[in-house]
Symmetry: C4
Subunit: 355 residues, 4 copies
């Protein structure tokens, strides 16, 4: 089977992963409207490609928070990589480094931050944080991440509680016994691990904007907030001093009915007025999707499920394949749209279809 | 089979109910466009969820006409509950009381109002009225309801004649002989019971707005009008002194081509300008639908078919399951949208998709 | 099989008619977009139904060109009724008379105008004219129709040439040898009857607006023009002195890509400003479709294919069934929308869905 | 099997061509959205047909760059005609001449320009140019085309690199060994012919608008630029002195997400303001599509895949069939829309559907 586009990796993963793992990765909240809209929304955006520009030299490099990446596609934080590949997040870290891009490691990793850091020394990584009721746990993780060389802290804002994913309920999904949330080992007493390997309700639903100041007090890392979908929250984020915003609906896994991220991006970018960097995740399946997101103002995009499919295919090597395909498709799309470098990608490159 | 969402109850009911009963409950007028639009219209509404608000304490309580309910979902009036479960409306009354919400008992109940009242003493109930040609019948029912402690009178305005439901015609639907419209027993002479267990044309198609005054003269109960779909009728309702309006198209069973209730809600709420309470029924299948309706100005929603599916599943217990799922989904949706209480739900929480 | 709605008659006709006849009646031009749009366009129109109006007495009567019909649905001109039922147009004439409505007999009838007139003496009929290259043929037909008591002359304007209906080409459709275009017998010399039973190109494609004056000189009958789809042509029709306009796209059989008639109606009605009566054919399948057309300004609608399905089912009796169902559905829709008579049907009863 | 419309030829070609050849001709970039939109976009355009105009004499002739063609449909440049029919482009040239229209021969022909010219002496032909890195190759081809009597030079602007066509990648598509790109024989050294029969990256991605001046210096032929989709590029094309613009997205084979050509046409025509001629290719499947394109301002349209289907059916004769069907459908559409000649086709003949 030739792996030509990201959908080939999806088909592979669906075929070879255990159903319970596939269902967990594929899950969306409720009726999965938002999950599916993330993808469909790209199809309603049309390019306005420009011709006869010199595209013999193509440069896909960009910088996020000052660090160069080889092309504007990073790895979004997702949990439980060992469900996809035995080496788990260690493979992810290696693939991201090999491809010269950024990997956001999740609090819910099945490898520890030390293991991740050791697997790919010098790699460009951010750490994604869920704030737990036990704030000491969170503080420790943030400080550990900084100490290990992670270069950014990503606060997930859209999960005060876990969304209702019907198939996970039906399957009674929980992490297999031989996998651990390594970053949280020992953090909780007792044996109940029924909620994704943690005691129920261990996350803190009382987190507010003021907790950005608390995080600020813990670390020198730049803070990126993930899960913003409105101009109002974008403004609040800027005012509370974050360095970046990831427009995200958690892959459609939290509030079903939330807008597609590419649709929400427009509103957020307009509100932010270049004061901080804006990124996006959700629905990226082709290089041209990346180009559309950049044209609408994203500095970089992140992939979630496609990275997991790559891992499921061949671990580090499979994820590199996924990233390489996206990079090559993105580069080709740039050329066919008349852009030789990232700086030439502007808003007049796209228009929303009236349909 | 795990009962995870309301659609599971629908599938159960379709599988286990006699076809003629299923068809009757499922029926819509003509091509069922309006019935189906009731559901589809929700999918065109997008949330604008807000992040980083303290949602550790969630309060779903609200009041309708001054009475508190534990969450803003009541039981819409539907007929013939014994078709779904042997105990019929008695089970419905018990489930509604147990879950702390309002049950609107139909004129076309297969249990009498006394039986309903006795089944769940102290429960919060309204009585739904069809006005019959024989006005004495209607007067007696209204006064009986008031005497039995029903706390509101709901006048159905959209059924001067019964809509054309093709499958009911094909099936030659009529109530099985062992079931009776208990509230109307003895009200009509003769044996012809061919129209839903009643003599044909027993409803009065000459009812007009002035009959609100007549009802007013019969009872001290607040009057709620059900079946309003336009701003003009909303204005008339307010002027005629009703206390509440249920935006309803009778589940799409009357005039096919009428708008989805969530679409009509906007126009009605705007016209009413908070002078009376506005409710809605039709198409509620998930907690997020409830949240959308409240964001657009409904004080409370009512469920029709899903209640029947709950009954068909396990009677009182099944209906409690349905209500509990809706309540939990609603609460989770509130939290994920950044609302800790009903009063925080506002119109800026939603927007209509351009598609 | 219960005949509950018009689609039941369609299914019957498709099942029992010879394929070549079914295909001919069902045919649309090219890809049948316009044929199908005629129906789909109704689904995009929403009612704004009004409640609590006295609808105990319902009156569906109206007048077209001064003659009363019992409800606003007539029989559109279609050819070759013997393909559907042995008695052909004689059955059609009887059914229309029995139901108290207007029948527009086609030039391409398989019964002669005399036979049609004799089959239902005193019936309300108009005669539909195609102008042939041999103008003497047309003159004679017009004068014969007037002499036989036809009360209106309908000029079809949209068939300078016959549209391309792929299945008819594939089937090599022609009239069976035992059927004749009785009104045109002897009108043409030679044996070539390859185009719908006539010599090829017998229709005159050079007809222009001035020919309205020529028709005017031949007859005292009111002239109705059929096939108008634009405001410009509506204005020309009024200026040339016609008494009525039928908004029609020939059932989608001529120019594929022409608008649905219910969409074009709005533009035509606006241009005509009540100076002449406006009718519509195309896509009427339910009583509520009739109500929508009247709300948008049509004085009456005409049915084409549904009449043929009625004939195919049981001749005169089957067509009466079709008309009766439409009448009853229309009456019920009126009542449920709050209209007791035709004069109460206004434009505020409908709105175009944004979708 | 009767060949009634162009889709019949498509079905034939899909059935009888080797899969690898069918896939190559059918291919679109990525998800084929643009390829499919090219066709779907026509369905969103409605005619505003005019009635009672004298259409007894129909004239479909027009001129492009001063040369008369018998109807406004030419043959777009496509490669590798021997994949469809053994005689390849020689058959194409003969069919185009026989039908009195223009054939744009591709750089990637499997017959040489001499063979093409000799096959149909005196035929009206343009030559399509890809500019190669080796500019001498391109210069020679242009001068050879002019010497051989080609009357126009068409520069393809939208292929700095080849689009990603998934099936071609899966199939490992390359030209069979017995076929040659005759115009490029001897132009490249070495044996690697892996990219469509050429060495990889032989096209020059550094071509810019200034190269129009270079082409101008090589030939007296009028220059037409193909692949323009925006008003900005249309303005640049006019300013750089081209004589014509073909609005094209390369049949959806280059940048997936580019607009349908009929949608882009409106913007280009408006920008050009009649300073040069505007043509279109992409999605033409029926005569009414041609009429829509002309109504929106195209001087002429070109067909790509349908020409190949015609070749695959019966070579020269099959392509004539395709052209004849399109011509007859176009003529009939003109008549049914009330246009007797090309000059009567105006913008008020169409409107974009709101849906």
């Amino acid at each position: 089977m030739a792996m030509v586009c990201l959908l080939d990796f999806e088909a592979y993963a669906e075929k070879y992963l255990p159903k319970i793992a596939w269902d967990f990765f594929a899950a969306g909240a409720d009726e999965c409207s938002t999950r599916d809209e993330n993808i469909l929304a790209y199809k309603r955006i049309r390019f306005r490609p420009r011709m006869l520009r010199d595209v013999s030299m193509l440069d896909t490099r960009t910088k996020i928070l000052g660090t160069e990446i080889s092309f504007p596609v990073g790895i979004a934080p997702t949990g439980f990589h060992q469900l996809a590949w035995p080496d788990g997040e260690k493979s992810t870290a290696r693939a991201a480094k090999a491809m010269g891009t950024c990997y956001i490691a999740s609090t819910y990793s099945t490898c520890s931050l030390e293991e991740i850091a050791a697997a790919a020394p010098g790699g460009f990584r951010w750490f994604q944080l869920y704030i737990h009721r036990n704030r000491a746990v969170s503080r420790q993780l943030v400080q550990q991440a900084e100490a290990l060389g992670f270069q950014g802290l990503v606060l997930t804002a859209d999960l005060p509680y876990t969304g209702k994913r019907r198939n996970d309920v039906r399957n009674g999904f929980r992490l297999p016994p031989h996998m651990k949330l390594k970053n949280l080992e020992g953090a909780f007493e007792g044996d109940d691990r029924s909620e994704y390997g943690l005691p129920p309700n261990s996350l803190d639903p009382s987190v507010t904007w003021d907790d950005i100041y608390w995080l600020r007090s813990l670390t020198h890392l730049p803070i990126v907030i993930k899960g913003i979908l409105t101009k109002e929250d974008a403004e609040l984020a800027v005012r509370h001093g974050v360095q970046g915003i990831i427009v995200s609906n958690h892959g459609g896994r939290q509030l079903d009915g939330a807008p597609a991220t590419i649709d929400a991006l427009v509103e957020v970018v307009e509100a932010v007025r270049d004061r901080v960097e804006v990124y996006l995740d959700g629905g990226i399946r082709k290089g041209s999707d990346v180009l559309k997101a950049l044209a609408l103002g994203a500095k970089c995009v992140f992939i979630g499920r496609p990275a997991l499919w790559g891992l499921a295919y061949k671990g580090e090597e499979g994820l590199q394949d996924v990233l390489r395909i996206l990079r090559d498709e993105f580069r080709l799309s740039m050329a066919l749209a008349g852009c030789a470098s990232i700086s030439e990608i502007g808003q007049d490159l796209v228009q929303f279809s009236k349909l």
